[in-house]
């Protein structure tokens, strides 16, 4: 499996990370080095093996379905780069 510039561009887009056009070939090469390393996994016989979902064989704890928190608008917005009138502000999304 070899990653070309188009795939690198697509992955960067999916990850929402801006990569300049002239940086894509080097990125593709890095992916190829890492994926080449990962491809060793193809040697392993995994027939009939379940993929691990939880490393400790325990049932996750459940809690009462009740409100335990809230009314912290100020704290929630405190670290926002742009908060106005009690909301997170972002660039225009809909025309």
């Amino acid at each position: 499996m070899s990653i070309d510039t188009d795939t690198a561009r697509r992955v960067a887009k999916l990850a929402r990370i801006k990569v300049e056009e002239d940086a894509l070939p080097a990125l593709a090469q890095e992916f190829n080095a890492i994926l080449g390393f990962i491809e060793q996994l193809e040697e392993v016989d995994v027939d009939g093996i379940e993929p691990m979902t939880s490393v400790t064989p325990q049932r996750l704890k459940r809690r009462e379905d009740v409100v335990t928190d809230g009314n912290q608008q100020e704290a929630v917005l405190k670290n926002a780069p742009d908060a106005r009138e009690g909301f997170f502000a972002v660039p225009k999304v809909v025309e």
Partner: protein
């Protein structure tokens, strides 16, 4: 008393109890040491006001019937959210982030009377083995053999450097693939990654949630036992934290390991393994044998596949966990051009805020989870993970109590020496440590010797799940037999 910052946690606790010293004096000694340690770049956000306030409170509380860490000054890895104090995971994208809440582990430490000296350097989002991937610049190892600055390892490099240089009595670390044990080994300190679920992950900035665990980094095994008892325990806010009683780990340090069965995994004897590491490992086995343990060869046949499986799983989880850094709710938003919409905001913010290694792992994770590759990469890696865990289960079922292995393939290397061109080369640092994270097991690094050029070397012990008490006791025995007492010469 002079050089109070050089005390171990256990000795400081005893001195505080006897009234030979108070926490304000002890804390001030650490603050002075930190202020003179700029060249190490270990403490990246200092909190002397908080520290002195907490120290005064500890002194006011008194030391009769005091909690375990009353008045003990500690450093906190930048990955832990600390209320009102910068917590940016060494990332540009979280610049200026001051959490409105406190992580469970730091809350527990403070409830136990601990004093926070500040936040410690690390690799960005805990992704790295040399502390070079940090928005603060690299932390520097206090150990030196020539003009070069050496890495303290990573990702908990600042924690390891700070403990080794006596800037604090102990520090918190986190370990996703070796991030506590590798830096401990590089700096002649002790670090334990407990069983997955032993410490709550709540309020620790997430890298790979199924692998991340917090643990202590200290000068001695006893200090790790004391700190771990304070950090561990069930937390309703982390559904993967185990609802199990936390033992008094210090009480388990009897030094008696007669009859314990120690496994030596033959697959860890890599072709071309550093001769000094091989020798150290053999000597460690001999120490355990001399202390009355039975040492036998064991096999962990899938070890070779741990690193590639790790890079698939950790990158996949990172791509998901780090999706939250979007320039909307916290941290920095990149400057936008006229007409830029929300997608440009995401893409520019993430390109400017994340460093190269973080970007790489997010994108590798995105790729292995993308349609068409999910089965070939992600599901296959999770199946291999099942096999790796089964290897350990088989060894433990045969009566093995703990496994002895090297902690790192080499001693500390120079900053900038492992090439950036091939990221895989850096990943190989974790070859002995990463298997445990995949299997959820506890592991501890203990300094047991020196390289020929005068750098500390550490061994690793791997225990059964939830049996950190037994593991610490075996480590305590090795520590005692090795008698490692060397300290770095102060140059900073």
């Amino acid at each position: 008393m002079t050089d109070l910052n050089k005390l171990t946690i256990a000795d400081a606790r005893d001195a505080l109890k006897k009234g030979d010293v108070n926490s304000v004096e002890l804390t001030q000694a650490c603050i002075d040491a930190i202020d003179a340690s700029g060249a190490l770049n270990a403490f990246v956000h200092k909190t002397p006001e908080i520290a002195l306030e907490q120290a005064a409170a500890a002194d006011a509380r008194g030391y009769a019937d005091a909690p375990a860490l009353n008045g003990i000054p500690l450093g906190i890895k930048d990955l832990f959210c600390t209320k009102g104090v910068d917590s940016q995971a060494a990332s540009g994208i979280l610049k200026g982030f001051k959490p409105e809440y406190e992580s469970t582990v730091t809350t527990k430490l403070f409830d136990n009377g601990a004093v926070m000296l500040g936040k410690l350097n690390m690799d960005e989002f805990a992704m790295g083995s040399s502390n070079e991937s940090s928005a603060y610049g690299p932390a520097v190892n206090p150990w030196k053999v020539d003009d070069r600055n050496l890495t303290p390892g990573g990702s908990s490099g600042g924690s390891a450097a700070a403990v080794a240089a006596d800037l604090c009595l102990g520090a918190t670390g986190t370990d996703t693939g070796g991030s506590i044990r590798q830096p401990a080994a590089f700096t002649g300190t002790v670090g334990i990654k407990p069983t997955y679920g032993r410490c709550s992950r709540w309020g620790i900035i997430a890298y790979a949630s199924s692998l991340d665990q917090a643990g202590p980094m200290t000068k001695t095994v006893r200090d790790s036992a004391i700190m771990l008892s304070a950090m561990a325990g069930h937390d309703m806010k982390d559904s993967t934290s185990a609802d199990l009683a936390v033992p008094d780990f210090e009480a388990a340090l009897t030094g008696d390991i007669k009859g314990k069965v120690i496994g030596i995994p033959r697959e860890y004897r890599l072709d071309g393994l550093n001769e000094e590491i091989t020798k150290l490992w053999d000597e460690g086995a001999e120490m355990l044998r001399a202390a009355g343990a039975e040492v036998r060869d064991v096999s962990l046949p899938h070890s070779k596949y741990a690193l590639p499986a790790y890079y698939v799983i950790a990158s996949a989880e990172a791509s998901s966990n780090l999706a939250r850094y979007d320039g909307v709710r916290f941290g920095e938003r990149a400057p936008l051009g006229a007409g830029d919409g929300i997608n440009e905001m995401y893409e520019k913010t993430r390109a400017a805020g994340f460093g190269p290694e973080t970007q790489r792992r997010i994108m590798v994770g995105t790729y292995v989870l993308s349609a068409g590759f999910y089965d070939a990469y992600y599901n296959r890696a999770r199946k291999v993970r099942t096999l790796i865990k089964r290897d350990f289960e088989n060894v433990f079922a045969d009566g093995v109590d703990a496994i002895l292995a090297p902690a790192t393939p080499t001693p500390a290397f120079g900053i900038g020496e492992v090439s950036d061109a091939n990221p895989v080369e850096m990943y190989l640092n974790d070859v002995f440590t990463v298997t445990l994270n995949l299997a959820g097991l506890p592991g501890i690094a203990v300094p047991t010797g020196m390289s020929s050029n005068g750098l500390p070397l550490g061994l690793q012990l791997i225990g059964r799940p939830w049996e950190e008490a037994d593991l610490l006791n075996i480590a305590h025995s090795v520590e005692h037999s090795a008698g490692f007492v060397a300290k770095p010469q102060k140059w900073w």
